[in-house]
C-alpha cells in the first residue's frame, strides 16, 4: 500500500535540523494515509461512502485541471479575507473604546455578550433575507464570527498594558497617538495576534456556513453540490481545501508572531 499524501522534507543542505523536525510530521501523515487507504480498500466500503486517498487525489487533479477548485477556493478566500478585515477592524476599534472607557463597557458589554449567545448559524438565514445571497451576507457572517474573539483579546491586551509603562509615557509627555503607537500597540500585540489566530480559522467556518445556506459559489457550494451528486471524493477535496486554507491563514498569523514578537523568546 503506498500513500500519496506525503510531506516532502526539504532536502537542501544546512536545513538538516529542519528536515529532521519535519520527519515525525511526515510520518504521521503517512500513517494516516495508510490507515485511510486500508479502511477504504479492505473495509469493503463503497466509494460514495468512503473514497480512498487515490480516488480523492484523482478528483483533486480533475478539479484543479478544469479550474473549478481554484475558482471556488478564491471566492471563499475572498469572503474570508474581507470578513476578517471587517471583523477585526470593527473589533479592534470597539475594543480600544471599551478598554478606555469603563462607562462604554458597562453600557455595551451586555449587548455584545448577548449577540454572542446567538449562534451565527442560526441568524445566517436572516442575514440572507436582509442582504440577499450575494457576497455581502457571507462577508458579514465571517465578520460576525471573527468579531468576538478579536474584541475580547483587544480589550484584554490593552488592559494588560503595564501601569508603570503608562506612567513612564506620561512622564515623557507622550500624546494619545504616541501612547498607542509606542506602548499600547506593541504591548497588546501578543494577545491581539492570539485573537487573530482564532479568528482566522473561525472566519473560514463562517464563509462555509454562508455558502451552505445560500449556495451559489465557493467551496461550501462545491461541497454541497458534490454531496448532492454522491461525489464523495469531491466532498473530501472541498474539505481538504478548507483545511489547507485555514492552515494557511493560521500559518500567516504564526509567521507574523515570529516576526514581530521575537523579543518574547
Amino acid at each position: 500500500m503506498n500513500n500519496n499524501i506525503n510531506l516532502k522534507a526539504p532536502g537542501s543542505r544546512g536545513k538538516r535540523s529542519y528536515a529532521l523536525r519535519l520527519m515525525p510530521v511526515a510520518a504521521a501523515v503517512g500513517v494516516c494515509g495508510a490507515v485511510w487507504q486500508a479502511a477504504a480498500g479492505f473495509g469493503g466500503m463503497p466509494a460514495f461512502i468512503l473514497p480512498g486517498p487515490m480516488a480523492v487525489a484523482g478528483r483533486l487533479t480533475d478539479s484543479l485541471s478544469d479550474g473549478s477548485l481554484v475558482r471556488h477556493s478564491l471566492v471563499t478566500l475572498g469572503e474570508v479575507l474581507a470578513g476578517m478585515a471587517a471583523g477585526v477592524g470593527a473589533a479592534a476599534l470597539l475594543g480600544y473604546l471599551l478598554s478606555k472607557s469603563r462607562l462604554a463597557e458597562q453600557i455595551l458589554a451586555p449587548y455584545i455578550v448577548a449577540t454572542q449567545a446567538i449562534p451565527v448559524v442560526a441568524i445566517a438565514p436572516l442575514l440572507f433575507i436582509w442582504l440577499g445571497s450575494g457576497l455581502e451576507s457571507k462577508v458579514l457572517i465571517c465578520a460576525l464570527i471573527v468579531f468576538f474573539p478579536v474584541l475580547v483579546n483587544t480589550v484584554i491586551g490593552l488592559r494588560s498594558v503595564s501601569a508603570n509603562l503608562r506612567e513612564l509615557m506620561r512622564s515623557l509627555g507622550a500624546s494619545r497617538w504616541q501612547n498607542f503607537r509606542h506602548l499600547e500597540l506593541p504591548a497588546a500585540l501578543p494577545v491581539l495576534l492570539g485573537g487573530l489566530k482564532i479568528g482566522a480559522t473561525l472566519s473560514v467556518i463562517g464563509a462555509v456556513v454562508g455558502e451552505f445556506i445560500a449556495p451559489d459559489r465557493g467551496l461550501g457550494f462545491l461541497i454541497s453540490i458534490a454531496r448532492g451528486q454522491y461525489d464523495t471524493a469531491l466532498v473530501f477535496v472541498g474539505v481538504f481545501s478548507l483545511v489547507a486554507m485555514a492552515l494557511g491563514l493560521y500559518g500567516l498569523v504564526a509567521w507574523a508572531e515570529n516576526r514581530f514578537l521575537a523579543w518574547r523568546e
Partner: protein, 254 residues
C-alpha cells in the same frame, strides 16, 4: 547659594479613596538649588513617592504648588527627567531604542538622536550592549538603561524614585557612585527618594526627612561632607551623628 530651580510651596496631596480620604502629604514647603543633590527619606507610606510625582508634574497637588524655575509646573516637562524604582523598559525595544524613546517622542532629528544615544550608552557604561533586549540584562544594567533614558533630553532636574531599591547591595553601591559622578559631570539637580538613611547621607548635599500620614517635612539637614564621597565616610563619627539625627526625626512620629 545658587538660584532656586525647584520649589514646593505648601504642597498638599489627598487621595480620594472608596471610603475615606487619605492625606498623603500635608503642607510641605522647601526649595532646591540648581545642581543640588537632595535625598528625601522617610518611613514607607510617608508620601515620598507622592512628593516626587508632584515635583515632576505627574500628579496635581490638592493644594499648594510646585515652581520650576520660578514658574508654576502644570505637567510633565522634558526638562525634568524621571527614573522609577523599576527600570520600566519596553521589552520589545533594544537597549539603544529604549534610551532613544524620549527623543523619538519629541521628534528629535535622527542624526542628533543617534549621537545623543551613543553618548549616553557610553556614559552609563553599556557599550557593547546597544542591541541587547531588556530580558537579557541584569537588574543593574537595566537600571543603567533607565538612567540613560532619563538623561536623554539632557534635563536640568533628575527625579529618582528609589532607583536602586530593587538591586542587590553591591550593585547598589556601584550605581550610587556612578550616579554621583554623572550628576556632577553633567551638572544635574537631583532629587532622590530612598528609604536608606546611610545612602541618603552618603550621596546628598541635603537630606529631607519626612514623617508619615500625612507626610510632613520634619528635618532639613545639610550634609556638608566633602566630595567626592567615599564609602569610608560611612564609618566616621560625623556621619553616625547625622544618621542618628535623621533616624530620630523620622522616628518621633512613628
Amino acid at each position: 547659594m545658587k538660584e532656586k530651580i525647584l520649589e514646593a510651596i505648601h504642597l498638599t496631596k489627598e487621595f480620594t479613596g472608596a471610603e475615606k480620604e487619605l492625606r498623603a502629604l500635608g503642607e510641605v514647603s522647601f526649595s532646591i538649588a540648581r545642581e543640588e543633590f537632595v535625598c528625601v527619606v522617610g518611613p514607607s507610606g510617608c508620601g515620598k513617592s507622592t512628593l516626587l510625582r508632584l515635583l515632576g508634574g505627574l500628579l496635581r497637588p490638592t493644594a499648594g504648588e510646585v515652581l520650576f524655575e520660578g514658574r508654576a509646573l502644570a505637567g510633565p516637562s522634558p526638562r525634568i527627567g524621571f527614573m522609577f524604582q523599576l527600570p520600566n523598559l519596553m521589552p520589545w525595544r533594544s537597549v539603544e531604542r529604549n534610551i532613544r524613546l524620549p527623543l523619538e517622542l519629541d521628534g528629535t532629528p535622527e542624526a542628533e538622536a543617534r549621537a545623543a544615544v551613543k553618548d549616553l550608552v557610553k556614559l552609563v557604561g553599556l557599550t557593547g550592549f546597544e542591541g541587547s533586549l531588556p530580558r537579557e540584562l541584569s537588574g543593574g544594567m537595566a537600571q543603567r538603561v533607565a538612567l540613560a533614558r532619563a538623561l536623554a533630553h539632557d534635563p536640568e532636574v533628575l527625579l529618582l524614585d528609589e532607583p536602586f531599591g530593587a538591586l542587590d547591595a553591591m550593585t547598589r553601591d556601584r550605581m550610587g557612585a556612578e550616579l554621583m559622578r554623572i550628576a556632577r559631570d553633567r551638572r544635574k539637580t537631583v532629587v532622590m527618594v530612598t528609604h536608606s538613611i546611610p545612602e541618603a547621607i552618603l550621596m546628598a548635599d541635603r537630606v529631607l526627612a519626612l514623617t508619615s500620614r500625612p507626610g510632613r517635612l520634619r528635618l532639613d539637614l545639610a550634609v556638608g561632607l566633602p566630595r567626592p564621597r567615599r564609602e569610608e565616610m560611612t564609618y566616621t563619627k560625623k556621619f553616625g551623628a547625622m544618621a542618628e539625627r535623621i533616624r530620630a526625626a523620622i522616628g518621633e512620629a512613628v
